[in-house]
């Protein structure tokens, strides 16, 4: 008999035995000997006397394994594999509770959430042992030696939890021991125990503790910045750039941008003028809305309606998600019409929307604060004053050379008694004009007033409140400013001119008033307030004789009448020659001859009274600038 195994057979045997031993070892390495197990041992011996083999066996020694309680909770100083975010609900912190004793024991959990504690901005929602939620009666579970329980502590993260802060969950409250496991059970004043309940073990009841942490990370956080120019010329585009970022740590899902168009009431609306630059592709895939909630999709910018468009919406290119730390810029134009009221700037905002990891729709409006702050673009203000006669601010002056700067308001200052033209007045003459200012600029404006031309020695004042208060109008400068006048509105004002004593009658005295836009001091307009001192008809009388003006000669008297107003018609003009009035004596020393005649006024005539001593013209109407003559002849007696 071959007592030796071949090498191959030996190796095979080793392999088979080892495989089994490896398996057995891996099992026996974690299991204690069950309580009550008898440990039996005998020894044996073999020997020979050289011829005969002998054997011997010892006595058997038996000892029993005692009952030992044990409990371990893992992990210790563990960390969740993922971060948590503020507001996250039911975050599972999973522990393994092991019966490390050598007999079947009962593991006890306190009522509700008492067996666990949490530090950081979070609260415990509930605890499940397996799939059973621990209720008000607590929970007990029988566990075989070496057996385990899966215990999950469900935690709600506060919505105000700070990024990078730590949420730490403790299951059990053992404060000592290796890995805080398997120490003598002690119910503390504020217990958070997880412990064994069997009392027959040689080491009594045991308790343990495990802990697991999670780091708070920011969820997706949208952040949008809108930039645009500080000013824009009416009738041109504002070029906007919206930078859309996710400054959180998690993806922002389905991000989209909503552009709120800064509109004013029609027709002076701003209008969307399309996506530009690298964003041009959006012009074929965007939506518009009147109210920001109902959207109409368009595939062409040309199809955008001309009214009812208050919001534009576009999905970002990075859709379906914008990763944490990523940004995308969207550029677009908004048109400002030429008739846009530039009183207020164009205020624009955009809002970036998206869904965070909790499925919540989150958003950010451009600017600062929860309500955002607008991106402001000032529309260049263009002045447009018109100053003219009352109710006629855009009037032009008379004649072919008339324009809006030489329009004129004429008022007569009657002298009583009437004096001949060229007679100096014996007191100051005050005349008040009413003018109208109109703002045809593109914004609410105020206007400075000057009087670049004034009658010699006169004072010029203005009142903007119907004569309540007066201020002197300077010849230049910006010291007199009107109240604010809205775009397309008018302002009535009074101009009071005081001619000094000694002003010669029978002449026109002009005061030029100029209104200049404060928004745009390159724009001004003037009007002329004209005083017709002593009326506006001048009479000049001349006489001529055929020869030496001797008795029997014919004397021709010519009365020339002139309307020196530029705008007023003298109607009902009657010229009367009374041969005996005042110092006149031709009624006594002359006799009527020939036929009185009137020229310059169509259809006018003159006739004597019965005694031929008073000559009276017919009622005449003399147009501005018009003149004529009344001639009559008398023979010298």
């Amino acid at each position: 008999m071959n007592k030796r195994l071949s090498n191959w057979s030996l190796r095979t045997l080793y392999a088979l035995v080892s495989a089994g031993l490896i398996f057995a070892f891996s099992l026996q390495g974690y299991a204690q000997t069950a309580a009550g197990t008898p440990i039996k041992n005998t020894a044996s011996a073999t020997y020979s006397d050289g011829t005969t083999s002998y054997s011997a066996v010892s006595n058997e020694v038996t000892i029993t394994v005692a009952k030992i309680s044990g409990i371990a909770i893992t992990p210790d100083a563990g960390t969740l594999s993922t971060t948590v975010v503020p507001g996250q609900q039911d975050v599972a912190f999973q522990f393994t509770v092991t019966n490390t004793g050598n007999f079947t024991d009962t593991i006890n959990f306190l009522a509700n959430n008492s067996s666990a504690t949490v530090t950081g901005s979070a609260t415990i929602d509930h605890i499940e042992v397996g799939s059973t939620t621990i209720g008000s009666s607590g929970h007990s579970a029988s566990v075989v030696a070496g057996g385990t329980l899966t215990v999950t502590v469900y935690v709600d993260i506060s919505s105000t939890a700070a990024a990078s802060s730590t949420i730490q969950v403790f299951l059990g409250d053992a404060a000592s021991g290796t890995n805080f496991d398997n120490i003598a059970y002690s119910a503390a004043t504020t217990p958070h125990d997880v412990y064994t309940t069997a009392t027959g073990a040689v080491n009594g009841q045991r308790e343990a503790r495990g802990d697991l942490s999670a780091t708070v990370a920011n969820d997706a956080i949208p952040d949008v910045t809108l930039t645009g120019p500080t000013s824009v010329t009416p009738g041109s585009n504002i070029a906007y750039s919206a930078t859309n970022c996710n400054v959180g740590a998690r993806d922002l899902t389905n991000p989209y941008l909503v552009i709120a168009l800064p509109n004013q009431p029609s027709p002076a609306e701003t209008t969307f003028a399309g996506f530009t630059g690298s964003s041009t592709g959006f012009n074929s895939a965007f939506s518009y809305s009147a109210n920001g909630s109902s959207w109409t999709a368009l595939t062409s910018l040309a199809s955008l309606p001309t009214s009812g468009v208050n919001y534009i919406r576009i999905n970002l290119t990075t859709n379906p998600l914008l990763p944490g730390g990523a940004c995308e810029t969207v550029t677009y134009n908004v048109n400002v019409p030429s008739d846009y009221d530039a009183t207020n700037p164009v205020n624009a905002t955009v809002t970036l929307y998206g869904t965070n990891s909790l499925g919540t729709l989150v958003s950010d409006i451009s600017g600062t604060g929860a309500s955002g702050t607008p991106t402001v673009t000032n529309v260049t203000k263009i002045g447009g004053p018109y100053l003219g006669p009352n109710g006629l601010p855009q009037a032009s002056g008379p004649g072919s050379g008339g324009n809006t700067n030489n329009d004129v308001t004429e008022k007569t200052a009657i002298l009583s008694p009437a004096v001949a033209p060229g007679t100096a007045t014996t007191s100051a003459t005050v005349v008040t004009f009413t003018n109208t200012l109109e703002n045809k600029g593109n914004a609410t404006d105020t206007f400075t007033f000057t009087a670049p031309t004034v009658p010699s020695g006169s004072t010029v004042e203005v009142s903007f409140n119907g004569g309540g208060t007066w201020v002197t109008v300077p010849t230049s400068g910006t010291t007199v400013t009107s109240p604010s006048v809205a775009k397309d509105a008018t302002l009535q004002l009074q101009i009071r001119v005081t001619l000094p004593t000694g002003t010669l009658s029978g002449a026109a005295y002009d005061t030029v008033i100029t209104a200049t836009s404060v928004n745009d001091n390159t724009k001004s307009n003037s009007t002329i307030d004209r005083i017709l001192l002593g009326g506006f008809i001048n009479l000049n009388k001349s006489v001529s004789c055929a020869s030496s003006c001797e008795p029997g000669d014919t004397v021709t008297y010519t009365v020339t009448f002139t309307n020196f107003s530029a705008t007023l018609t003298a109607s009902g003009l009657v010229i009367t020659e009374d041969g005996a009035a005042g110092t006149n004596n031709w009624a006594t020393y002359t006799t009527a001859t020939g036929t009185p005649a009137v020229t310059g006024v169509s259809g006018a005539s003159a006739s004597y009274n019965v005694g031929n001593t008073v000559l009276t013209s017919s009622s005449m109407s003399v147009s501005p600038g018009g003149s004529g003559t009344l001639t009559f002849q008398r023979k010298i007696n």
Binding site: Q32, A43, Y47, D49, G50, N59
Partner: protein, 175 residues
């Protein structure tokens, strides 16, 4: 015919017995340094004792009610040859009882003895090996951990002579 014991033959018988005795001595002298009779037989008595270390004291298992997992049991095998012949090739085998595991390097024989271990109770080796599967799937032969030992064997070089005693001890830990 009556046998007559010649008294003169008694001294001859004594001489023969003496011769045999001396021959035995010579045989013994050839076989070893000790004297033995050719018909001497060994008879070894083996006694097993166990103790446990507890609270800085050593307690006999006979006086202990129970042992706890993790406690160290100290086994002592005492052998005594109560026969009149040498116990040659003397070997003692101690078991690693179920519920315990051998503590490495704890086997202590008295005298010169070879210590071997067995994983299966049949094959003994100073360093039992097992096949271990590597990460790459290959099989590598590695030393078996002491916790896998099932038996420990002591083999003495010298015989256990009559009236001689030998001890061997080893430790196990209660699992």
């Amino acid at each position: 015919m009556k046998k007559i014991i010649n008294k003169s033959k008694k001294p001859l018988l004594g001489l023969m017995i003496g011769f045999l005795f001396l021959s035995s001595i010579v045989v013994l002298a050839k076989n070893g340094s000790r004297l033995s009779f050719a018909n001497a037989k060994p008879a070894v008595n083996v006694v097993l004792e166990g103790t446990v270390e507890r609270d800085n004291a050593v307690l006999s298992l006979d006086k202990t009610e129970a042992v706890k997992p993790g406690e160290v049991l100290h086994w002592t095998i005492s052998s005594e040859n109560k026969g009149d012949g040498e116990a040659k090739d003397y070997k003692v085998v101690g078991k690693i009882p179920a519920g315990t595991e051998f503590i490495a390097d704890s086997a202590k024989p008295e005298g010169l003895a070879k210590v071997t271990y067995s994983l299966d109770g049949k094959n003994f080796s100073a360093q039992p090996m097992i096949e271990e599967k590597q990460a790459d799937g290959s099989i590598k032969s590695v030393p078996a951990p002491a916790a896998m030992y099932k038996q420990v064997r002591f083999e003495w070089e010298n015989s256990l002579n009559p009236n001689e005693k030998l001890n061997a001890s080893y430790n196990v830990k209660v699992k």
